[in-house]
């Protein structure tokens, strides 16, 4: 599975890891890891938010509101609490295709 290896490499270059909620609207990042209970982490993985995958933060509601991300071609709404448990490595503008 070369693909999976590539995804893993992505997640291991983690010089700068931030919470998903701290991304700007329109910014992209690669998921490094999620913290939280067994159930939550499994659920996130099943919805496609696995380590190494690229996400784009498409919407961000003010006052600790929910965020919307695009992952694997699907739009997902995540509550602020959930989103703040997901950590990503931000992708610079030049890496955006």
């Amino acid at each position: 599975m070369e693909l999976r290896d590539k995804e893993k490499q992505n997640s291991q270059n983690n010089e700068q890891i931030v919470s998903l909620t701290s991304l700007q609207e329109g910014a992209k990042g690669v998921i490094a890891h999620a913290v939280g209970g067994f159930g939550l982490i499994r659920r996130l993985a099943e919805m496609g938010l696995t380590p190494g995958v690229e996400v784009k933060l498409t919407k961000k509601c003010p006052f600790h509101g929910p965020v919307e991300v695009e992952v694997r071609g699907v739009a997902l709404a995540l509550g602020y609490g959930v989103a703040s448990k997901i950590f990503v490595k931000p992708l610079g503008k030049e890496q955006n295709v």
């Binding site: 996130l44 919805m47 496609g48 380590p51 997902l76 509550g79």
Partner: protein, 671 residues
């Protein structure tokens, strides 16, 4: 212990009798129920899975000499044990072994959908794929190579557009061709990377050896994978086997080894593996033809979920729904009521020729009255409400509303999805109660239902507007609504703190906007109305008969006399107001009509009540005992204990608040 059929048995199963059992499986929001509706139309039975509050929709159709029974499995993203829906689905597939599974796949989100397909393949179920929403995918510039996808997966793939019915015939032809052996399934073997695959195979051998009987129901490899994923349901099944614990311990050991290598929990490792595979297949079989332009749907999405603009839009839509249901319902109700009233008099005249007066009254008021009560709620309020609900569901607006209201709902310990049943509650509490199923855990379902019942439905609105709004002023009626919201907020918070368990955060897909189809809305409305009639009518009629019998035997007068200290002493209402409050259980707007009647018997009219009495009466009607149809819905959803708990809390609360309101208002208002 397992009532499941073994694999050999299914081979000679129903096929010979010309009856086929087909299950529809797939993610939520992929048009699965649209396909189901196109297949079965009005021949549907919607009910629950035995012993579970998971919707089970089943229908039949005839095709090429086969009678085909189609079952619509719940829309889920995975076959793990996250929710009841997932367990129900995988048990149906593995244990009941339908002749064919149609996996409905959204062509515009192939990768995510294939994640589920791979799990169906792990279950070694006979599947074909309906590649749905190909039109939507084309709009996004996504083109799928159907032939190639079919080759890679080794199963037939039929492109469909469920909303228009395109491809449905081909889908059925394919099912029949596979059943007749004209088309062969050669499903892809799902294999994982390196040491993961090694470990699965080792475990699979042990499972085959030690759990021979379990392997006749579930595939050995699937059991091995689930054990590695620490699946609690499969682990539970193992405990019943002699060697179960030993296998479990071994599985735990290798899961731990795997986690040590990868630094992630085993379900995440396996999910990542499946997604990599899904990603690979999706990349191989799809091409993005043109850079996607910003479509009308996307613009609509941007506006309706806008951090500022979104809220006035939501408020406008809610107000519009409210007006349509309320105004439309009232008009229809006004047309129907006199019709039934004259019919009732006519029946009474005929019957009184050969029956004693009491029996006539029991039949006309109790039996016929109950049926009329049912019809005059169902037709004017429920049907328009169901049409609007289907429209909101199919267009994709509901998740947007949930997204906007997530922060607000967190204040009462729930998340955005709870806003959907809450909004439904302004129409009718019955579908709102059933709508609480969208919440993930039993705790959240119950919490949501508890607050949803306190929302004034259309029938309660009739009382509030017809009494307080008309005679005290609109400001007072609006104040009652505002007070209700404060109450919902406060009680929601208390219940949230009182009930044990952790709150769950929002994780919800936001499907793109779609143009709803009139046909599918009509089918949905018809089937839901049918379900409502079956569930609520017997109870409304029985309740109506019982209360009428109580009235005829003079028992009601006894209750009214006994409760006089409550009605007059505590609530400050005329003693006769007890009667409408009792009958209001049948349907809440009946409370107002009966209040008028009860007062008339005392030579009074509604306006003889003072403003405080009107407000207190409306307040009590708004909060006290849910109507009988809602109680029935609650019992079905949560069992009689919890339904009873809700009734007791609501009645005590209504009396408590009514009495306090009477005293407080008397201090401030001069009447």
């Amino acid at each position: 212990m397992f009532n499941g059929k073994t694999r050999a048995e299914t081979e000679k199963n129903s096929k010979n009798k010309g009856i086929l059992r087909i299950a529809l499986a797939g993610n939520a929001n992929v048009g699965k129920s649209a396909i189901f509706n196109q297949l079965t139309g009005l021949n549907q039975i919607v009910g629950n899975w035995p012993g579970k509050t998971v919707e089970r929709a089943e229908g039949t159709l005839h095709f090429k000499g086969y009678k085909i029974r189609v079952i619509d499995l719940p829309g889920i993203y995975s076959l793990s044990t996250f929710s009841m829906e997932e367990i129900v689905s995988r048990d149906y597939i593995a244990v009941e072994k339908p002749d064919m599974i149609i996996n409905v796949v959204d062509a515009s989100a192939l990768e995510r959908n294939l994640y589920f397909t791979l799990q169906l393949l792990e279950l070694e179920a006979p599947i074909i794929i309906a590649l749905n929403q190909v039109d939507l995918a084309a709009k996004k510039g996504i083109r799928t190579d159907v032939q190639k996808l079919s080759e890679v997966l080794g199963i037939p793939v039929v492109p469909t557009v469920a909303i228009t019915g395109s491809g449905i015939n081909e889908l059925l032809s394919t099912v029949v061709a596979v059943i007749r052996g004209e088309l062969k399934l050669n499903p892809m073997k799902v294999r994982f990377g390196g040491e993961i695959e090694e470990k699965i195979q080792t475990l699979e051998k042990i499972v085959t050896d030690k759990l021979a009987h379990l392997c006749t129901v579930y595939p050995a490899r699937w059991i091995a994978i689930k054990l590695l994923e620490r699946d609690s349901d499969v682990a539970g099944k193992l405990k019943n086997y002699e060697n179960g614990n030993a296998v479990l311990e071994y599985a735990e050991k290798i899961a731990a080894e795997l986690e040590k290598i990868h630094g992630e929990t085993s379900p995440v490792i396996l999910a990542s593996e499946r997604y990599s595979l899904a990603n690979k297949i999706a990349k191989e079989t799809t091409t993005i033809e043109s850079p996607p332009k910003i479509s009308l749907e996307q613009k609509l999405d941007a506006i309706t979920t806008h951090k500022i603009l979104g809220y006035p839009i939501l408020a406008t839509i809610a107000a519009l729904i409210f007006t349509i249901i309320f105004a439309g319902g009232n008009t229809l109700s006004d047309i129907l009521n006199p019709l039934f009233a004259s019919l009732s008099t006519h029946i009474a005249n005929v019957l009184s020729q050969f029956l004693p007066a009491a029996a006539v009254e029991l039949i006309t008021q109790g039996l016929f009255g109950g049926i009329v009560a049912g019809i005059t709620i169902a037709l004017p309020y429920i049907i328009p409400f169901y049409v609007i609900l289907a429209l909101l569901e199919d267009s994709g607006y509901l998740p947007r509303a949930a997204f906007l209201m997530d922060s607000a709902m967190h204040k009462i310990g729930l998340h955005g999805k709870a806003f959907i049943p809450l909004m439904l509650g302004y129409g009718c509490s019955v579908p709102a109660c059933v709508g609480c199923r969208i919440m993930e855990t039993e705790r959240e379902r119950f919490l949501t239902a508890f607050v949803v019942i306190l929302i004034p439905c259309a029938a309660r609105t009739v009382v509030i507007l017809g009494l307080v709004g008309k005679y005290v002023g609109l400001h007072a009626a609006l104040a009652l609504y505002a007070f209700d919201l404060v109450l919902v907020f406060a009680l929601g918070r208390i219940a949230f703190k009182a009930l044990p368990g952790e709150p769950v955060g929002l994780i919800m897909e936001m499907p793109p906007y779609k143009k709803p189809s009139a046909k599918i809305i009509a089918i949905k409305t018809w089937n839901r109305t049918k379900d409502f009639v079956y569930m609520a009518f017997p109870i409304i009629v029985a309740g109506s008969l019982i209360i009428e019998a109580l009235a005829l035997s003079g028992f009601i007068d006894y209750i009214v006399n006994a409760s006089e200290f409550l009605i007059s002493g505590w609530l400050g209402l005329p003693p006769v107001a007890g009667i409408p409050l009792i009958f209001g259980v049948l349907r809440k707007e009946l409370a107002l009509i009966l209040l008028e009647n009860a007062l008339a018997q005392q030579g009074m009219v509604l306006t003889d009540l003072n403003a405080i009495q009107m407000i207190v009466f409306s307040l009590v009607v708004m909060i006290y005992i849910p109507c009988i149809a809602t109680i029935a819905a609650c019992m079905r959803e949560f069992g009689w204990r919890k339904a009873l708990a809700i009734v007791i809390v609501d009645v005590s609360l209504a009396l408590l608040l009514g009495g306090i309101a009477y005293r407080l208002l008397s201090l401030f208002m001069n009447v």
